[in-house]
């Protein structure tokens, strides 16, 4: 194994960018697979090229990984108090490096602030549940975060629904928290969702109405998707939206519990099929009669 690593190191050295992090990446860009770490199994490979191309490419590894030195044998720097405090709280997420997971707060204090008060953040930070999403659960690995406008970004307009759906389509979580686990399908059958599926770039996705970092329960008093909040939310795209307009369900379930659209759809399907059968039969009979007449005329002409 060691020999293998050393061999790869030589190769890796040729393309690893010369930066403060190059020493870490010397090994970590060459290492493959998972290893037993201090807190469980961790992915040891870091794609140096993607790190440099990411929005965090200018950072050094130890700017977030405070508990590590810049080499296997050098001592670690002190962990900032704020980060250390948060690291204790996020340890519940079971991550291998809670300090690094908490490091985001240094540069993104406003987002952290919003997340703390959100239904997501509260679940982790206050209720000590591993389920609630923190930064990386939505934004992906911090090593490879690209701008939101990049199609690769997990929070890109085209990927938000999938990102939210990772938890909101999960049966275990739906049961545990009383969520509707079919909300993604409901969205995708809504008018907004259908356009989204066709690649519409301006149609609202989850976060456009529900918010992101500061997201609340849908029925919270300051919710963006009920009451006055919803009118304002709709008004972001639908200029002049009124309470009456905002009363429209954005992604309602169409089933027997919503009988009028449900049975209307059934009736319309019957009407479509009925009309279709009628006209199909009409056309077929017309063709049949046409052919029959031609044949009999030919017969008459022949004799």
């Amino acid at each position: 194994m060691v020999r293998y690593v050393l061999l790869l190191l030589t190769v890796a050295f040729l393309y690893v960018p010369v930066a403060e992090s190059s020493e870490c990446l010397l090994c970590h860009s060459a290492m493959q697979g998972k290893m037993e770490g201090r807190k469980g199994v961790v992915e040891v490979h870091v794609d140096a090229k993607r790190v440099v191309d990411s929005v965090h490419g200018v950072l050094g590894c130890t700017d977030c990984h405070f508990s590590y030195g810049s080499g296997p044998h050098s001592a670690a720097a002190a962990v900032p108090v704020e980060v250390a405090k948060l690291a204790k709280k996020v340890a519940v997420k079971g991550t291998s490096d809670p300090v690094a997971l908490s490091a985001c707060v240094q540069c993104h204090p406003a987002e952290y602030e919003a997340l703390t008060g959100s239904v997501h953040g509260e679940n982790v930070l206050r209720k000590k549940q591993a389920d609630g999403p923190l930064c990386l659960d939505c934004h992906g690995s911090p090593h490879y975060i690209v701008p939101e406008t990049d199609a690769e970004s997990e929070v890109n307009h085209a990927n938000v629904v999938h990102t939210c759906g990772k938890c909101h389509g999960d049966e275990r979580l739906a049961e545990k928290y009383g969520l509707d686990g079919h909300v993604v399908e409901m969205y995708e059958s809504s008018f907004h969702g259908k356009k989204f599926l066709l690649g519409h770039t301006k149609v609202p996705v989850c976060s456009d109405c529900h918010g992101a970092h500061g997201i609340t329960r849908w029925d919270a008093p300051d919710s963006t998707v009920i009451g006055e909040g919803k009118v304002k939310t709709c008004g972001k795209c639908h200029t002049g939206a009124t309470p009456k307009f905002a009363a429209a369900p954005a992604h309602a379930h169409v089933g027997k519990d919503n009988p009028i659209p449900y049975y209307s759809a059934k009736g319309l399907t019957a009407l479509v099929i009925g009309t279709f059968l009628f006209i199909f039969m009409h056309v077929l009979l017309d063709m049949y009669a046409e052919v029959r007449d031609r044949l009999s005329r030919k017969k008459k002409g022949g004799h």
């Binding site: 690649g199 519409h200 200029t239 939206a241 009456k244 919503n258 659209p261 056309v283």
Partner: protein, 239 residues
């Protein structure tokens, strides 16, 4: 009284022909630009949308074509009223497009012919029962698809007209109405109209009446026998 029988006769005036051209152009645009939205999860839907330059452009084309079609329809209806008011169009059972009791008997007689129980189809008037059906189907389509489409295209403006108790389901209902009836319209046009006016033996590649507005006297005598008799009296063999 003996009448001069021409080689061909005008069936649709220029204004009707223009209305029809606008109708089928917008119909095709609407069908093609809206189709993908019915089954957006299917792979071919993305292809249909790409043809129009993406979902936004398809939506814009759909709205412009929809409003144009509605205006065309309104123009047609107003023009019909105008013709009636000006005395340029008078009601007669032989020439009217309004469904009459004889349409039901024609329908039955035609089916007897199809089944081989009658030697020939019944003699038709200016509009056969199927042509009347074809014509009024547009009115049905406008009432259902046109109105729901207009409401869906201008939702903020339209939301004011709905009473409060409908707000929980009216939008879904409108969407279902719009898309299901559009499917019905497409299937209907594809089978009845394309078959009758394009594919039917003797018509292929198409009946040219949409362009010239005229049909030959032979065709009139054959397919609109009663109208022919009504127009030219019983003197069909004099020329």
């Amino acid at each position: 009284m003996k009448k001069e029988i021409p080689q061909e006769i005008e069936r649709f005036s220029t204004i009707f022909r223009i209305q029809h051209v606008i109708l089928f152009t917008t119909f095709l645009l609407l069908a093609f630009s809206g189709w993908a939205l019915k089954y957006p999860a299917l792979e071919h839907s993305r292809f249909w949308v790409k043809i129009w330059g993406g979902a936004e452009m398809a939506g814009l084309i759909h709205r412009v074509a929809g409003v144009t079609m509605l205006l065309d329809f309104i123009w047609h209806v107003l023009y019909m009223f105008y013709l009636a008011a000006a005395g340029r169009m008078t009601f007669h059972p032989v020439t009217t497009v309004i469904p009459m009791p004889h349409d039901l008997t024609d329908f039955i007689k035609n089916f007897m012919y199809y089944m081989g129980l009658a030697k020939s189809p019944p003699p038709f008037r200016r509009f056969s029962y199927l042509q009347k059906f074809d014509y009024w189907a547009v009115f049905w389509g406008m009432a259902i698809i046109g109105s729901s489409g207009f409401i869906l295209a201008f939702p903020v403006f339209s939301s004011g007209i709905f009473p409060n108790f409908t707000l929980g389901w009216i939008w879904q209902l409108l969407r279902v109405l719009h898309s299901d009836e559009a499917l019905l319209a497409v299937v209907f046009i594809l089978f009845i109209h394309f078959y009758s006016e394009h594919l039917k033996p003797g018509k292929f590649p198409m009946s040219w009446v949409w362009l010239s507005g005229k049909i030959s006297i032979e065709e009139m005598k054959h397919h609109h026998t009663i109208e022919y008799d009504y127009t030219f009296g019983e003197t069909e063999d004099d020329e």
